[in-house]
Structure formats: structure tokens, C-alpha cells
Amino acid sequence: MSGKRILMAKTGLDGHWRGPTIVARALRDAGFEVIMIGMARPEEVVQACVDEDVDLVGLNIGGHIDVAVRAVTALREERPELPVFCGGVVPPHAKRKLEALGVEVYPPGSQLPDIVGAARRLTGLG
């Protein structure tokens, strides 16, 4: 039992659910409580993170990097200490941009043990 809570959201209006679902199930199986809110705008992600008092945010990025960057920036303003990681269609230039903001990026082809390991590390479970 970890008791650690992870909020997962999609920043775009793209509804592919394959990736996020696989990740959510793997996190659940690793003992995390996962709260999926689906497609959400930056301010909606922020409010849900606050209300749900989560320990980590996972963003699925389905579109332009600037939309994701807005969500991350908004989160940083409200809860600067909250770690964020993300996956989805993130080309190398976008990956670099997010990493510069302190966001860990797991592009397509990332393996589940790596993602789960990151979740454990980012929530202080070692």
C-alpha cells in the first residue's frame, strides 16, 4: 500500500485512450491510487490537482507542446513542489522544452517498468 495519489489528465482534445489506460493500470498495479480526469484545460488540471491533493501529475500530450507547457506553468504557480511527468506524442524538440521545465518525459516506446519506477521515485517511494 503506497497511499500515493496520481492525477492523470489529457491536455489535448485528442481522445486516444490506449496509452494513458495502459499506464494507469500499471500504476494501479504498482499500488498507486490513480485519478483520471480525461481531457482538461490547464486551469482545470490545476484545480483537480489541488482538490484531489495528489502527489504526482501525469499529463498525456496529444498535440502542440505549447498547450502542455501552459498546463505545466499553471501547475508550477499553484503547487511548485508537485512533480509532473508526461507521455504522448512528444517529438525531441518538445521533449527538450518540457525537460527544461523539470518535467520527465516518457515518449512512445517507453517501457512500463521505467514509468512505474519514475512514479515511485517522484513520489518519494524510492
Binding site: G3, R28, D29, M39
Partner: protein, 324 residues
């Protein structure tokens, strides 16, 4: 969790309107244990009254959609709404995908709505207790309406929903096996039956069946029946009115007060029992417990006398702070 001062400070922040403090307090309630006990103490001076509505029913009955639609309905009527989506199915050793937040999409980002997915992780008093503490936090923070939605109709779920002021039991035309099997329990806790997905076949038969079952109840305990199609927002107005009627009737008749009193007894019993068990386990694991067990094994004392002696060691303290 930090000491009582830190807790009081966090409560003060939450009461002052900080959502983030409110959210952290609910986490404390969720974790249970001594933190939760400290929280209850810190909440004691807080005033504030909220009305709670429990929503329970079999998985697939459309509870989340109904909770979402009811939130919209109450919001339109000008109320701020807090919704606790409670998930008792989260086992202790594994994680969970909590709640059904996709249904709650329409309320994302709305400052007049507070949504929280809760899992049971605490030990003291169980999930019903954690939910009650969370409700008191919301009450202290001035949320006038608290919806508490649970995911099934097992005993844990019924306990959670049963600890609210108005209990909605959601079912569908045709009932479903799980509901039938729990009919007696549902009859006991329901204040309003909601037949959701009422546009489906079998509505009339289900209504007749319900009416027959309700007729067997005492005249003072005859739940209303409301039909809804939550996906289309149909029947929500009637549901809001049924809730208001129930609230008005139980308040006028004194039933509301009696229920709160009964709930206090239940909470008291649950918590005392939980503490007693903890203390007992501690005592059994300690030197005195081991000595008694040895004595029983060696047949130096009979088991009942040993049990009495064990209990006596628990109840010799006069300072409640030192009590189990």
C-alpha cells in the same frame, strides 16, 4: 502529521477558504489513525452546518452520471456542491483507479464545485468514519451540500451512504441481481429510490415491485420513487424536489435530529471499538499478554480468567489521554 498546533493552523487556513488546505485535511481523514483523531479534535470548535446526500447503487446503475447531473441541478438552483466519490473497493495492498471522474467532466474547473475521490486507507473506524470526518471538514469550511457517492451495494458502501441525511438508492428498470440480493438492506437505508435509465424497458414492472416492497415498511418510512434519465438530465428537477421534501419532513418531524443522534452513537461505537481492538492487540503483543498466553498454554489458568485479567489491565487508567 504534525502536532495539534499545526493541525489547528491547517484547519484555520481551510476554514479561511484555502481549497488546498481543505484538500490536505481530507487526505488526513483518508489516512485515518491518530492524524484523523487530531483533526477531529481541531474541528470541534468549528461551526457550520451542511446537509449530506448519500448515493448508492449497483455498479453500472449510472450513479456517477446521476451524481454529476444532480450536481448540475443543485448548482443551477444556486448551491455550492461538494462531492465525495468514495471507493471502498480499493484493497489495502493494491492501488486503484479511483472514481469515475469522466462523468464529472462538466464540473472540471468550477470553483463552486469541490470534487474529491476517496479511497479507504485508514484503520480507525474504517471508511465510514473517514467519510464522516471528511464531511465534517467540508462542513467546517462552509460547503452547504455534500454528496457522497459510493461504488456498490456491499455492507461497507451501505454504511457510508447510510451515514448521510438523505440516502438515494439508484437502480435501473429490471433491478439486477446484486440489487435483488440486497433488497432488504436497501429498503432499510433508502430515503429515495431513483430509477435511473428510466427510458429503458421494464420501468413499470420495477416501479410496481418497488411500491410493493415499500408498502411493507412502516408508514413513516416509505421512500419516494423518482425516475430519471441522468444522461439526458431528465427527472433531476423532480429529484431535487424529492430531496428537499425529505429534508423538510425529517426536519419538521424531528427525524433528522434523531438520525444525527443515532449516527453519533454509531460513530462513537465504531471508534471506541476500533481503539479497543488496537489497545487489545498492543496488550496481547506485550509482556503481560505473552505471560497470560503462556499461563493458558501451560494450563496454569483458564482462558476466561486470563481474558478478564487482560481486560483489567486495559481499564485501570483514569486519565482519558492514557486510555486505549
Amino acid at each position: 502529521m504534525a502536532g495539534p498546533d499545526a493541525m489547528a493552523e491547517l484547519v484555520a487556513e481551510a476554514v479561511g477558504g484555502s481549497r488546498s488546505a481543505l484538500a490536505r485535511l481530507i487526505s488526513v481523514a483518508e489516512r485515518g489513525g491518530e492524524g484523523s483523531a487530531a483533526l477531529e479534535a481541531a474541528l470541534l470548535p468549528c461551526r457550520g452546518e451542511s446537509y449530506s446526500i448519500g448515493i448508492t447503487g449497483a455498479p453500472g446503475a449510472g450513479k456517477s452520471t446521476l451524481a454529476s447531473a444532480l450536481t448540475t441541478e443543485l448548482q443551477t438552483a444556486g448551491e455550492r456542491v461538494a462531492l465525495l466519490a468514495v471507493d471502498p473497493s480499493s484493497p489495502l495492498t493494491r492501488g486503484a483507479i479511483l472514481g469515475d471522474r469522466v462523468r464529472l467532466q462538466p464540473h472540471l474547473g468550477n470553483p463552486e464545485v469541490f470534487i474529491r475521490s476517496m479511497a479507504s486507507r485508514g484503520h480507525l473506524g474504517g471508511l465510514a468514519m473517514a467519510t464522516c470526518t471528511a464531511r465534517r471538514v467540508l462542513e467546517a469550511c462552509g460547503w452547504p451540500l455534500v454528496l457522497i457517492e459510493t461504488v456498490g451495494v456491499g455492507q461497507a458502501e451501505l454504511d457510508v451512504a447510510g451515514a448521510t441525511d438523505t440516502v438515494l438508492v439508484v437502480l435501473n428498470p429490471g433491478w439486477g441481481d446484486e440489487m435483488q440480493a440486497n433488497k432488504a438492506g436497501l429498503m432499510e437505508i433508502a430515503d429515495i429510490f431513483v430509477i435511473n435509465k428510466a427510458d429503458r424497458q421494464g420501468l413499470e414492472a420495477t416501479r410496481r415491485d418497488l411500491e410493493a416492497a415499500i408498502a411493507a415498511n412502516a408508514p413513516t418510512r416509505r421512500p419516494a420513487i423518482v425516475e430519471t434519465v441522468a444522461t439526458e438530465g431528465t427527472g433531476l428537477n423532480a429529484l431535487r424536489e424529492a430531496i428537499a421534501d425529505h429534508r423538510q419532513q425529517t426536519t419538521a418531524s424531528g427525524e433528522h435530529q434523531r438520525r444525527r443522534q443515532a449516527r453519533a452513537v454509531t460513530e462513537l461505537r465504531d471508534l471506541a471499538r476500533a481503539r479497543l481492538e488496537l489497545a487489545l492487540e498492543a496488550q496481547l503483543a506485550g509482556a503481560a499478554g505473552k505471560a497470560l498466553a503462556d499461563a493458558v498454554t501451560r494450563r496454569e489458568t483458564d482462558v476466561d480468567s486470563a481474558a478478564r485479567r487482560l481486560l483489567a489491565t486495559l481499564f485501570t487508567r483514569s486519565d482519558p489521554e492514557q486510555a486505549p
